[in-house]
């Protein structure tokens, strides 16, 4: 096995890190305190990100992205993940890879402007009554000639307030299966401002200040059939084919944040003196640091191995689940221990630790809860045995 990074990968890490430290860190306090990313600030940073080729770097080169392989893309995600989420996700956006499923006019209207930073996307699957059980969704699209009439409510929709269009999942019918009736799901692209599509502010929450969730309401929203992404009734297929390694993306951003927390903890362990010596010389602190570093490395190896396998088309659902599960739980552990090492100071907003600790919480829930990931891992083990 080869673990060394190429010169290109090292350069990408370096330039992304420089950008994060110089352009994002200085604005974290403002966004954290106000809970708002000012549009002027967003646009200024975004312009720099586009100039540096960092914007939409996840996309293939033929549509104007950086054309990175999955492993290299995740190295870039790890660096971005160090910063406040609103800043890195909004100003250095990574359009959903599902837009690569755009065909014909959709490419000019959605895919290419998203890569150029002129328009932005969001994705709506979750509903008030539908979380992990996505097939149970109530939002539906009824055919009316060349049009579909959409009704339903989506919630927890990340950055829908910022997005110019939404990729919406809606039920378009039912089919009989041996295990009973199953809903057929279709993905639609719907522009902000389409009559019948309303965006309402979502819930205030503990993680990712400045990065908002919204509630989307569709009331007899009329959408032409040309707005279907992929094929009719093939919503999950288009997601599976194009969405890419989103769980690994979550894992990678967690790695960066954990690394930052560990850096603070290490520095504090040598700077802080108690009872006449550096606190890092006390076993209670030094053993914590050793465990944090080891957990971080374990999560890194799982994530990057899964990424490598993803590029080789060898990655299994279990690989992705393990990486996501380990990285998100590792972040919770590392953030918590970093605060413990700092004592009272760790809870103060002067340091990014309390923020990292709060932000860590959502990571074990979105993109598939820890329980769903464990379910996937255990099913993959037991199913072949007839379990």
């Amino acid at each position: 096995m080869e673990f060394a990074l190429t010169e290109e990968q090292q350069l990408i890490i370096q330039t992304t890190r420089d950008f994060v430290v110089n352009e994002l860190y200085p604005h974290e306090a403002e966004v954290e305190e106000s809970g708002v990313l000012r549009p002027e600030l967003r646009d200024a940073i975004k312009a720099k990100a586009i100039e540096a080729g960092l914007y939409a770097a996840n996309m293939p080169a033929e549509v104007g992205g950086a054309g990175l392989d999955t492993l290299t893309w995740l190295l870039y995600e790890r660096e971005l993940g160090r910063a406040n989420y609103a800043l890195h996700w909004t100003c250095v956006a990574r359009p959903s890879n599902i837009l690569m499923a755009c065909t014909g006019e959709q490419r000019e209207k959605y895919l290419l402007p998203a890569v150029r930073g002129e328009r932005s996307d969001c994705m709506a699957m979750t509903e008030p009554g539908v979380g992990s059980d996505v097939r149970g969704m109530k939002t539906n699209a009824r055919r009316d000639g060349e049009y579909f009439i959409i009704n339903g409510t989506k919630h927890f929709i990340s950055h829908a307030d910022e997005a110019d269009f939404v990729i919406l999942y809606a039920a378009t019918g039912e089919e009989e299966t041996p295990r009973g009736k199953k809903k057929l799901i279709t993905a639609f692209i719907i522009d902000k401002g389409t009559p019948g599509y309303t965006i309402r502010p979502g819930y205030k929450n503990v993680s990712h200040r400045g990065y908002h969730n919204s509630i989307l309401e569709f009331s007899d929203c009329r959408v032409h059939q040309s707005q279907i992404l992929g094929e009719l009734h093939q919503g999950f297929e288009v997601a599976n084919d194009w969405l890419g390694a989103t769980r690994l993306q979550v894992a990678a951003t967690c790695l960066g944040r954990a690394e930052r927390a560990l850096e603070h903890a290490k520095q504090w362990a040598v700077d802080r003196q108690q009872f006449g010596q550096q606190i890092g010389k006390f076993q209670g602190v030094s053993f914590k640091l050793a465990d944090m570093a080891m957990e971080l490395k374990a999560a890194e190896l799982l994530t990057f191995e899964a990424a490598w396998k993803f590029d080789q088309k060898l990655a299994t659902d279990m690989d992705m689940a393990m990486a996501k599960l380990k990285a998100t739980e590792m972040l919770a552990f590392v953030a918590d221990e970093a605060i413990q090492i700092h004592g009272g100071m760790g809870l103060m907003s002067d340091l990014p630790l309390e923020r990292i600790w709060r932000d860590a919480r959502v990571e074990r829930i979105w993109e598939g809860t820890s329980e769903i990931q464990r379910h996937i891992i255990s099913r993959a083990m037991l199913r072949p045995l007839g379990g």
Binding site: E7, E8, L11, I12, T15, E51, A52, G53, G67
Partner: protein, 249 residues
Amino acid sequence: MRRILVGIKRVVDYSVRVRVKPDGTGVALDGVKMSINPFDEIALEEALRMKERGEADEVVAMSIGPEEAQQQLRTALAMGADRAILVKSDTAVEPLTAAQVFTAIARAEDARLVLVGKQAIDDDANQTGQMLAALWGRPQATFASKVEVLGEVLRVTREVDAGLETLEIDLPAVVTVDLRLNEPRYVKLPDIMKAKKKPLDVKSFADYGVEPTERLKVTLYVAPATRSKGIMVKSVAELVDVLKKKGLA
């Protein structure tokens, strides 16, 4: 061909807390992050801007150092240099040797301008640019904070102790750059991928007819003595009092 050469030195990154080896033979470099000397990065940025303004046709990054210095030259290529030359050396390079090599490259490449950092942040010698100008027999302007191309003349604003000094020098010339000349760009992601395809020639001292001789001998490296802890005072009045007591005011 209006060609600009830019000197690129591989140094310990500015953010690293440098440690002296226990036996005093040098600075510990194992696993330490290495970067382009920040002043050289500014020199490169200036060269790239000149090319973008149509004042130069080609930017060549040149370095003298170990095999690994290719990493810094790759960074220079990713920033926008057209090609790179590495003159391999497995030992530390003294300023005069560097100046001799750069002179030979400047002649071989028929350079119109050589830009180098005013000094490297490892040995802080601040000599290479000046020696290069003398050996090459061309004008020099050091500590540049502004550079303008006026046809065959370069107008350079220099940061000197008394303030700013403006010189006009004939091209070809040597300019050493200071911190405030510009702010180097971020390396663009797509350019990183393209940099791999740009030429990077690895050469030897012999290729340029230079025989490096050791004129300087470093006998011992020691870390600076740790400063004793200072005291915090609450007001200017208190500060003046303390200074008076120490006989300093």
